[in-house]
Symmetry: none
Subunit: 220 residues, 4 copies
């Protein structure tokens, strides 16, 4: 006769369970059976509420992205006119917290990272929606920092240098590859902040070096 939880409830439980499992095992290793089990629901529930595993995954992605964006906006609350150095720091801070802050974001970070490392072909569109904006913001900041004479290649290289310092750390989380102070279930806010500070320091120095090189080339 079933316990009526009035739709929305099961829907949310599925979304939550799916987020967890997708984060833990990735898209292909996740079975809808496991999701439903963890949601204390039944095998057919996913298809009932989301039509297919694919659609559920998209829903999870959108949810993860939306949530991440809401809690940690890429500008870190800074006005667009703030100095590029500060904007870079804020962005790095934001990205890191998206990934590492289990406390507030659940598994959103893990899923985003998985998507980044091994994007499911089918969901490229969603993927683009998520990654591209981040990239655009970053591009603007970098341009400001290394000056107008940089070549396209130099800009791309710099974006990569900065952004992957932030992203890559997530790949190792929860797999025992990291020193304990980074691999605890909830890396403390202090540690994340310390990492953000490091990356900012490191990157600003790197970017300065690139800028100097560019200017040296031009003045010669």
């Amino acid at each position: 006769m079933a316990i009526r939880k009035d739709g929305v409830d099961t829907y949310r439980k599925l979304l939550k369970a799916a987020s967890e499992v997708f984060a833990e095992k990735g898209y292909r290793d996740t079975t809808v059976a496991e999701i439903c089990r963890r949601a204390h629901s039944n095998v057919a529930a996913v298809n009932y509420h989301f039509d297919s595993k694919d659609e559920l995954y998209i829903a999870v992605l959108k949810n993860a992205f939306g949530e991440a964006l809401r809690v940690y906006p890429p500008d870190g609350g800074l006005p667009a006119e703030a100095p590029a150095e500060e904007r870079l720091g804020a962005l790095i801070h934001s990205v890191l917290h998206r990934i590492l802050d289990d406390g507030r974001l659940g598994c959103a970070g893990q899923i985003l990272l998985r998507e980044m490392a091994d994007p499911i072909e089918t969901f490229r569109r969603v993927h683009e929606d998520i990654v591209r904006p981040l990239r655009e913001i970053m591009l603007g900041i970098i341009r400001d920092l290394i000056g107008p004479d940089a070549t396209e290649q130099q800009i791309v290289f710099c974006v990569m240098s900065v952004i992957h310092q932030c992203l890559a750390i997530g790949f190792r989380k929860g797999r025992g590859h990291l020193p304990s102070f980074l691999d605890s279930p909830q890396s403390t806010t202090e540690t994340i902040d310390a990492l953000a500070e490091h990356i900012t320091l490191f990157s600003l120095a790197g970017l300065s070096a690139v800028r100097e090189k560019i200017e040296a080339a031009f003045s010669s």
Copy 2:
């Protein structure tokens, strides 16, 4: 005259085909059927030569690692007494070429990267054999560069900053996320060298900044 190539040949063709498919699709999405099809061989061939899909994957991993290491040794041919700056440059150069140089290495880099992002549980041991040594070498160089007073955390952060600039780029290869000059089937040697140079420049500056901060803290 065909059909009978007496062992070694089929073995190699399977290994090659498997490397390609594993690189393209990852472990789970790869079917032995596709591997065999691409090797112009029979479905049972994999089990005959490698006993199982798992063992084939391990063989691919070992082959990829071995080949990568042989062609691009981590020291880049430099003696251990060379200045740390040069050793860092050589290491970055070596890692990048391992990943990006399709021409010589086939898909070794892709596979190693996949393993890094999403290690298959079963093969963790192999994985450890591959990643740990790289990490150890990097650790030594970094220590030399940021000085003896660095905390453990600072060293780890720096290793990450450097190593992930190198590794992460591979995640995006062949997926249309990169500007054309980096995403061509064979990124030209020139481009790879340019990238290596960039990362070295960027990282040395970053490391210097970290060293200065450490020394400032100590002298105060």
Copy 3:
């Protein structure tokens, strides 16, 4: 209206079909495909209801044993104080009917016999549960009949003599090795009863002879 019989039905049909096929062909030669075909069901049905071929086989074994025991209790309804001669007759009667009475027991007997002749390693536990109790009961009766001075070896030999007269007949059923009056699909109750009577007569005489021999040895 078909197709949807809501669980129990398909479960039973599978169990029935499996019992038949396992009885006819033995564990190894039975394919789940054939079972499902005969149950007018889908290949995946076995795994849905029983998880695996192995579990299905265990279920069949338990079912066969349970049914056999329920319909033909080993004491034949006799009180424990009845004379050993009568208890032997009742036991023989019960065992024979378990094996031969197709009408009521389906293929339970065949399967039990197959298990006896060629036990599948994996299912030894189940097998033990089935055979051991029978043996224990028989042991008690035999002891009563050949007297307290029998050696262990003599008891074992006698148990074998009796029990295998009962069991072995099943091996030949349905294979054209038996005269028609024993090999008809349903051996008539009369024939079975006649056989039971024969074995009882034969065995009691045999046991008497053993007892006499024992006593002669002692009195000398």
Copy 4:
């Protein structure tokens, strides 16, 4: 370039290995790979020398039967005019040794028993050649012992009673179901002889009882 063992050798080694494996695991659980492994030969050897697994099995059966018959002739070396009691004893003795005497017969007994319990359809003809003669001899002896007035059913029942006491024991050998004195790799000749003596004693008494019953029925 191969070590030429001149045909016959490999042939024999295969036959021996096959006998062992078939005895241990039965026809269907035996793989030609295992046979060849145990014969220190290669996978193709079976098909080369015997054309197929089936033909190899037939060869094994014939070999086992021939050997068994040669070493233990069913008449036990007794002339046809010897008293039926003695001929029964000799036959029982012969059958038991065929089955139990590992020392001389290798696995012939096990295989014959397996064939008896679960005859492979394909090989029924061979099977008939082996079992029928034994049965005929037994029939003659039984007839002599229970007299000319026995019905067909009574004779069949008696044959079964006697023969299965002999055969059935083999089913349990090597499976831990038997007391140690019967389950040792080589049951000593003494034990086998003791068992033969028991079965003879038991059966003669049983047969006498049947005879008396028949005569009582007639004289009434």
